[in-house]
Amino acid sequence: MVELKTFRGGIHPPYQKEATAAKSTEDISLPAEVVIPMQQHVGAHNSPTVNVGDRVDAGQKIGSSEAFISAPVHASVSGTVKAIEGRPDFTGAQVQSVVIKVDPSQPPKWAEKKDTGSLSAEQIRDVAKEAGLVGLGGAAFPTFVKLSPPADKRIDTVIINGCECEPFLTCDHRLMLERADDLISGLKLMMRAVGADKGIIGVEANKMDAADALTTKLGGDSSIEVVLLEVKYPEGAEKMLIDAVTGRRVPPGKLPSEVGVLVQNVQTAVALHDAASTGKPVIDRVITVTGGGIKEPKNVLVKVGTPISHVIDQCGGFAGTPGKVVMGGPMTGWAQKDLSAAVVKGTSGILVLGKDEVEYGAERECVGCDKCIDACPMFLMPNFIVKYTKRGKYDEANRFGVQDCFECGCCAYVCASRISHVAYVRKAKAELAAAEKK
């Protein structure tokens, strides 16, 4: 029995990955139009580089920014620019978006593969930047920025996050199985870009088939190791994963480069390989469409900009009355008020919960059961943060570490009083940020 690595704290929610874990990734038909937000990443907003009425080709850059922390966006399909306007994105915020009417026929592209072995570190960073690559696990931080650590920080280890610790989601699992070679190639490109000698692929122990597939593909390659991790949420959170795998702790407010580590998601590595070998930018991604409220749960390859409604139609539509439609996983995803938001680079799944699955009762008083404290992977006291936020004492909430919270939701999950800690945390952070500005 192999010893599984892990971190302290966390929770064991029901994983519910059975519905899609064994289903191969499928293509779906194209929607009539795609909506491509100019901001799909952490960092500066892009400006559109096309005009209404322009013809665009799939893969053509349609938005870019001069800022360092940014990632360009590309047309995900060939078609005509129908509008450039504000549209609500998956968070509900109005974001300037390019709406493209999709051409009936889409010429095949990026079939030709070239060898990536000769690319230099500089070239790899350029590839990532030009492809608009961002963290595809959900955080959507521009990848080339992570591949350009400060000169005084030496990165010795690149970790691929193959935990997929969010319940329901299986897209990373499928990619590890279906594209193991490309994943390893992408990891090697990342290692070369930052000059790391060691690569680690961290996989939760509920995906042994993926771990085995990767180990087999690696053969005798000693520079890359597959590390098995305990099945626990949030095993794939950056700091938790680094702690579990290397025993190093990233100090608060610092980046993983502080402890010589770079973490990237499975899909990011695969996309980097694609961009390097074929020149294909990030215009599509694999997402998991699942939950009790969807008729045919599956893993699908979706063009960026596809509206949720189209994806749901392609998965058989709703089963019964939907209660909640969540963009992303159940722990950190965003509940949608309608089905118009588009799939973006950071979308890992669309979760449809049935009417009966979303009623968990009204918030009650905290009884001090302390489960949230035991569950918090950041060793905070979520109940105290809530208490002070309710009273408007944001400085006290700050003293209790609200800024260290990365909103994994473990506290709210375990709470018997049904308190939405994450909502209070966001409130406190917003108030603290507003106070800072004054």
Binding site: I11, P13, A83, G247, R249, M331, G361, G368, A412, A416
Partner: protein
């Protein structure tokens, strides 16, 4: 350049469905535990001892239990109504408070006394602080303390040997017969003063299986441990509190020359350590905070037991440490992840 909203096709076609969608902040899945369910399981943990005490004590015990619960639940409902708040007796916490109070009372009391106790527990122990989650002291123990100082004669000297319990325990030492009206702790005080000669080991068996002298909830140490097992298996309480509390009392009793096992089995230590000190609201939040709390309870229990006029000290020990809890929480804040340490401890 900007298009009118009406020009957008397939925008509103799903509206009928969309209007029904629930929104809300993540996470979108929750654990199945609720406050009512947790309280319910604590009540389940108390059922063995409750039923056995009714079997042993009969109607008088049943009346105490029913009256105490009635006083607590009715008071909760009335006060919440008066405060124009939603009535939350369905969370079972008032019922639990009433039951806990009853189990700390003598089996024979005038029927109105537990009623008053239950009402006081909720009114002064809980609602004056703002209700569930806001009280500083364990409500059941507040109720008991008020009865204890108001009608101390009923609460301390009216212990009657329960004939049925004495039958269950034929092994109760014969020499105890002379002082059967006194509780074991009081008897051992007489032993310490030299007025009586008796080995505490004679008490082990009756205290474990059928205690004829104590409060309702002290009728069997064994069944208290069964209740604790339920709490631990269902992960409702932190093991540190009962364990550190009891071990502290054992060690200190042993140091000052008392029989450690007797110290654990007698009086209200086990019941208090398992069911009173573990009350979520009134003990510290963090693991080390709980350890300090439990050790503090143990030290004060022993001090009161052996160096005060009171025969037993568990109630006041827990109430005192309840009062210390906000202070303990203030200083036992866990260090957030990554602060001050770049390498994992594990």
């Amino acid at each position: 350049m900007i298009m009118a909203r009406e020009d957008k096709p397939d925008r509103d076609e799903k509206l009928e469905t969309e209007e029904l969608l629930t929104i809300g902040v993540s996470p979108h899945i929750r654990d199945t535990d609720t406050t009512a369910r947790i309280m319910g399981w604590v009540i389940v943990a108390l059922l063995p001892i409750t039923f056995y005490s009714i079997y042993i004590g009969g109607l008088s015990t049943l009346i105490v239990i029913v009256m105490s619960i009635a006083g607590a639940v009715a008071t909760e409902a009335v006060i919440q109504r008066l405060r124009h708040m939603p009535v939350t007796i369905d969370d079972l916490s008032a019922l639990l408070t009433g039951l806990l109070l009853a189990l700390t009372l003598p089996p024979r009391l005038p029927f109105w006394m537990p009623l008053v106790g239950g009402a006081v527990a909720i009114a002064l122990g809980k609602q004056v602080f703002g209700g569930l989650g806001h009280n500083i002291f364990n409500p059941a123990l507040v109720g008991r303390a008020v009865l204890f100082v108001s009608w101390s004669k009923y609460m301390t000297t009216s212990w009657l040997v329960n004939p049925k319990a004495a039958v269950v325990n034929t092994a109760a030492v014969k020499s105890i017969d002379a002082v059967t009206r006194a509780t074991p702790l009081y008897t051992m005080r007489l032993v310490r003063q030299g007025t009586l000669s008796l080995s505490p080991s004679g008490y082990y068996r009756p205290l474990l299986f059928g205690n004829p002298w104590g409060c309702i909830g002290e009728v069997s140490a064994l069944l208290i441990l069964v209740g604790l097992a339920v709490l631990l298996v269902k992960r409702l309480v932190d093991w540190r509190i009962p364990v550190y509390f009891v071990v502290t009392v054992m060690v200190l009793s042993w140091i000052i020359g008392m029989d450690p096992l007797f110290a654990v089995l007698s009086g209200s230590l086990l019941f208090g350590a398992c069911f009173m000190a573990t009350d979520y609201v009134t003990n510290p939040m963090t693991r080390w905070g709980k350890v300090i709390f439990a050790v503090g309870c143990g030290i004060i229990t022993v001090l009161l037991r052996f160096y005060s006029n009171l025969p037993e000290g568990v109630m006041f020990a827990i109430l005192f440490m309840n009062g210390m809890t906000p202070l303990i929480d203030r200083y036992m804040k866990p260090r957030p992840y990554g602060h001050g340490r770049a390498v994992s401890e594990s």
